[in-house]
Assembly symmetry: C2
Homo-oligomer: 672 residues x 2
């Protein structure tokens, strides 16, 4: 008797012999080949598509011929009438082995495929959603065998899907009988994490949705995804309505301290906003909010506590004790979220009182632990959350940068919005500036600038604009290394003018004059010194004098010109080509956690392994902070920068040691 | 060096050597001796009391002397000032080993002790509540070590109580920080099933409560228990308010069928009643309803479905498909129960569409599977739920007795209430009756009966009374074997009189005459035939012609005189001393499940092993039913009964075969 036909699956390379007539899907299942299916091999879902690899004789030692596969069947024809089936594609549940075969499983037919992300250096998202759909046919009830509807459903799920020992949500039990009868004993169920039956629908259904939410103190952003494909079907955002209780985090905590019980209002505000956002995203995607089966959340610790309904007052002062810091899997309904009644919510873990689930999200998106290179991850907000490390070790801290980088505490500062100055160039010879504003592609000295900005005007300067302004002022010699605006230049240019006992620089002279004052410089110096000192502190702990890569997460990081940030000494020296924006990395982390349940375990493990450094009690932090107040320009400290930017010459009276000692005496540290 | 002192614990017999100065509790822990503690050895809870066994030299080979135990300590004295400490009792956490010891652990100091039940033949309840309290001291938060409050609490629970990997309810996270700070970092937590943190309180607390609920279609009964001692601290009951939707189960299901959506009202009614009952029980026990941490539920399948919020219409007709039949552990809040937010609800499993969690409760209370004897368990309601079996095998069915046993369908029938006839004697010579009514100890021919019953009068006859009346009528010859009231006796006594085409018997001639009509006899015949046929069917399946014990559960079973029930042929022949009431066995089963979490696994396992017989499709059921219509009196069939009761002679014209054939033709089976 000849041996049974051989089947080889690519790309896995798994192979085995099966009797003629065996469906390709069954062979795949037995060999552990990853092929998707929702309908369980009934030719309904079309998820199990494969293609015949002909002419693979040389590579696999067998001839894989067209006639070795059963002819296109009625099941496949019926499917192809409903949905397009690409040429050469077969449904592996319907196609049967007749002879030796090499079968290719395309990526979209694999459950655990990779979702490639746009930025080339970011890691790909592995798809392994916690919620999966399964179509089953359930035995009808019989008088003589009184097993309950649920028991027979569970038996079917075990027999068809090898899902044993499932628990069942109460709301599923409540709708189970109706679904079974409406669907003619055919239903689709959603199973969470291979252990909980969380939803049931009559008949066949093949789309399950989840939402990844980044709960920022200023904005809340949500990505609605189809879970099996990972596709983002809607991306929406809105202002955090908690802003009415306080512009920044600490003022919201103060509000709660002054109005005991008001934490419930802030919780209701954020939950309401998430419900609204989810409804908006669902509308855009043409689904219902109640179709959402999964949610994942990142946010700083105060946002996370308020989302969870936990009073955040302990985070308002030392020792900044978190109520909880581990990753949480909850029912979305417990968070007041009007998703599917069986929806689960995954909240990413927090690292420390000021390094929250948002930082965990950045970590998950960037995975510095997968490389030997020393990476710095920076997420700038009211505090800068900093993570430094590599495969061997990860260290994190939060540094009290204050809100200056967001345009607050700056005389002409404003949020990044149309009309805000975001780009600055200053001619070192004439000290004349030119600027660009958000919403206009022209420079201020281009013809037509005034007309192009008539609607918004030039209203102020945003966080990234102020960094450029100061760096250009420094490069033009207007700003001294110690941060003092050089009043001596008032003789050379009217742009430099007295402003009380100090001097100011007139950056834009329009309907509203935009000036950089000495106080503005001081505010940025304090902020950038805090950021730099935080990074230095972690470098000390790591025992390294250099870093290989710097990734700037969040809105500020997306808009800043890294060259200017380095000129000002916000960041340590690094190959400028390796300093880049990580985009909304926290939100990406939430999306990864949404789509890949293995990542949930990974991030919990990673976060627990992160060493936390508390800047407030680290003795060297103050030293680094004071040293970082000045604007550095030594070629020795910034060799990479010096190759790109012509740094001003050091003047003898600004010797480093003296300045930093006096700065230490004069400069109050910003309150945490 | 001499060996370390030896310690022997009784009654476990565990022994080991420990260095001098070792606290007795620590030695017990290391040896795995079962000693209770809530405070973790801090001398607060007093649960770990032990006594020194002196003079145990001979038995254990060591001298256990007073001076071998450390002197009464300040910790113990402080405890004794707060609560009485019996003479000779020591706190094992404070008493230390100084020499060889025999230490007796009294039952009340054991976690897993037995709770002895009153009826001698019932099994004892093993105490092993799912919820346990643990007092812990938690490390204060530190800036330099940013573990969250929850993390440090979990660490303390693992270190002090070996509870690893606990999950935590969201509401606990929400109150955690306040509890820790109010309690000065000392809190008591409740842990469910050694895996879930479900409650937290500041400081020390040593009482946890649970409620066992029997959800009957007529009445709902609740036992509030202190979980660690098993003590019933309040027992309350009330009418099921669903009665306004229908007197019996099937009329409620009909109501729902006729008023779609009304199932929510019935669910709200039963949940509201349970909340009210729990509040009443809590008041009686001097606690708050929100102190209830556990609940267990039994009830017939329709009550169970309505409690769970599941529409029971599928149970209104064949094939009587249950939505779910397994044991369930839910959050009490999911059932709308306003207990502690962390309270869990355990719902006992169901056996089949008509053999519900109430039958499972009876099974758990009676445990026929622990004996070789063949036991019959009968719970009479609208249906009789019957379980028959022993160690080898358990078989169950539900038999459609209808409501006659509850006094319905009987011309003068009424619920068991004051004024209802419950005892009957008829003089065979004169055919004169005497009766007793509920609420009066006198017989109707006793002097003073009229005066004693003036308040209630003699208002009708209850279920157990009708059984006695019919049996006495039979023994007096008024009722023939075929159930016909013998009109020929009208000549002998005016008590027997024509009633349309048939005859009736005047049982009581007062303000309201209480008569037994031919229709009443027929209704009881149908009911008792159904019950008897159900038992016979199970005996057939079991392959047995006899049973060793019969236990009658529920209110009917508590009041019935088993001799008369046997005379009428409700039950098969059995030693009358072995036929007894099991009381509210379903409720007892709920209480066992409340107090012993191992019993929860046991009952799930037991129930799944029960063979279900569906009377409606069992061919022999109808045959048994028709045969059981007659009133049996053969000495051969009822040898045990014949020893106790003088059965009337068989008359030739009533030969068994002929009657049962004709009965088969004439008797309609009661609709299920």
């Amino acid at each position: 008797m000849p041996p049974d036909p051989l089947i080889v699956f690519t790309p896995s390379g798994r192979r085995g012999r099966f009797p003629p007539g065996t469906p390709v899907l069954r062979a795949a299942r037995e060999l552990g080949v990853d092929i998707d299916s929702v309908c369980g091999g009934r030719g309904i879902c079309g998820r199990c598509q494969v293609a015949l690899s002909e002419g693979e004789f040389a590579k696999h030692g067998i001839a894989s011929l067209d006639e070795h596969l059963s002819p296109f069947s009625e099941v496949e024809a019926a499917y192809a009438r409903r949905k397009p089936l690409a040429s050469g594609r077969r449904l592996s549940c319907a196609a049967r082995m007749l002879g030796d075969l090499v079968i290719d499983v395309p990526p979209e037919s694999q459950v655990h495929r990779q979702l490639v992300r746009k930025p080339v250096e970011a890691v790909a998202i592995e798809l392994d959603p916690a919620v999966r759909l399964h179509y089953v046919e359930v035995r009808e009830p019989e008088l003589a065998a009184p097993a309950s509807d649920l028991r027979r459903l569970l038996e079917a799920l075990e027999a068809e899907w090898q899902l044993a020992g499932l628990t069942c949500d109460l709301h599923v039990m409540q709708t189970l009988q109706e679904s079974l009868r409406k669907g003619g004993w055919k239903v689709t169920v959603a199973v969470h994490d291979e252990c909980e039956l969380v939803a049931i629908w009559p008949g066949f259904r093949d789309k399950a949705y989840g939402v990844a939410v980044d709960v920022g103190s200023t904005t809340i952003a949500a990505h609605l995804c189809e879970l099996a494909s990972g596709e983002v079907v809607a991306a929406v955002g809105m202002m955090n309505p908690q802003i009415r209780f306080g512009e920044d985090l600490m003022s919201r905590v103060s509000y709660i301290m002054m109005h005991p019980g008001s934490e419930a209002e802030l919780t209701a505000a954020v939950r309401g906003a998430i419900n609204d956002l989810a409804a908006q995203a669902a509308r855009e995607a043409g689904i219902d909010r109640a179709d959402i089966l999964e949610a994942s959340f990142v946010g700083n610790p105060i946002m996370q506590h308020l989302l969870l309904g936990i009073n955040p007052v302990e985070l308002g002062g030392a020792p900044f004790a978190l109520a909880c810091d581990g990753a949480l899997t909850l029912r979305a309904a417990e968070l007041g979220l009007a998703f599917h009644p069986g929806a689960r919510a995954f909240v990413l873990p927090s690292i420390a009182g000021h390094v929250g689930a948002d930082a965990a999200g950045v970590l998950l998106a960037e995975r510095p632990d997968l490389s030997d290179e020393i990476t710095v991850l920076v997420d700038v907000g009211t505090n800068a959350e900093i993570i430094l490390g590599n495969r061997a070790r990860l260290i994190a801290c939060s540094s009290p940068t204050g809100p200056a980088f967001e345009g607050a505490q700056i005389s002409c500062g404003q949020r990044a919005a149309p009309g805000a100055i975001e780009r600055v160039r200053i001619d070192p010879a004439t000290l004349e500036p030119r600027v660009k504003v958000i919403g206009c592609e022209l420079w201020s000295d281009d013809a037509g600038f005034a007309a192009a900005t008539r609607a918004t005007g030039v209203s102020g300067i945003c966080g990234s604009g102020i960094i450029e302004a100061l760096a250009e002022m420094f490069l033009a010699g207007i700003l001294r290394k110690d941060g003092v605006i050089d009043g001596g230049l008032a003789a050379r240019s009217p742009r430099v003018h007295a402003d009380g006992p100090t001097f100011a620089y007139l950056l834009y002279d329009g309907a509203r004059a935009v000036r950089i004052t000495q106080n503005d410089v001081r505010a940025i110096q304090l902020a950038k010194a805090a950021l730099h000192a935080g990074i230095r502190l972690l470098m000390d702990r790591m025992g390294t004098a250099h870093v290989d890569r710097i990734r700037l997460a969040g809105a500020f990081g997306s808009h800043i010109d890294v060259k200017y940030a380095t000129v000002l000494g916000m960041l340590p020296d690094c190959d400028l080509a390796r300093v880049s924006s990580a985009g909304n990395a926290a939100g990406t982390g939430a999306r990864i956690a949404l789509l890949d349940r293995r990542a949930r375990g990974e991030i919990e493990r990673l976060v627990r392994g992160v060493e936390k450094v508390e800047t407030a009690v680290a003795p060297r932090f103050q030293e680094h902070f004071v040293d970082a107040m000045a604007i550095p320009h030594s070629h020795a400290a910034y060799p990479h920068l010096a190759r790109v930017v012509k740094l001003p010459e050091a003047r003898p009276q600004e010797a480093n040691g003296r300045r930093s000692r006096s700065a230490r005496r004069r400069t109050a540290l910003p309150a945490k």
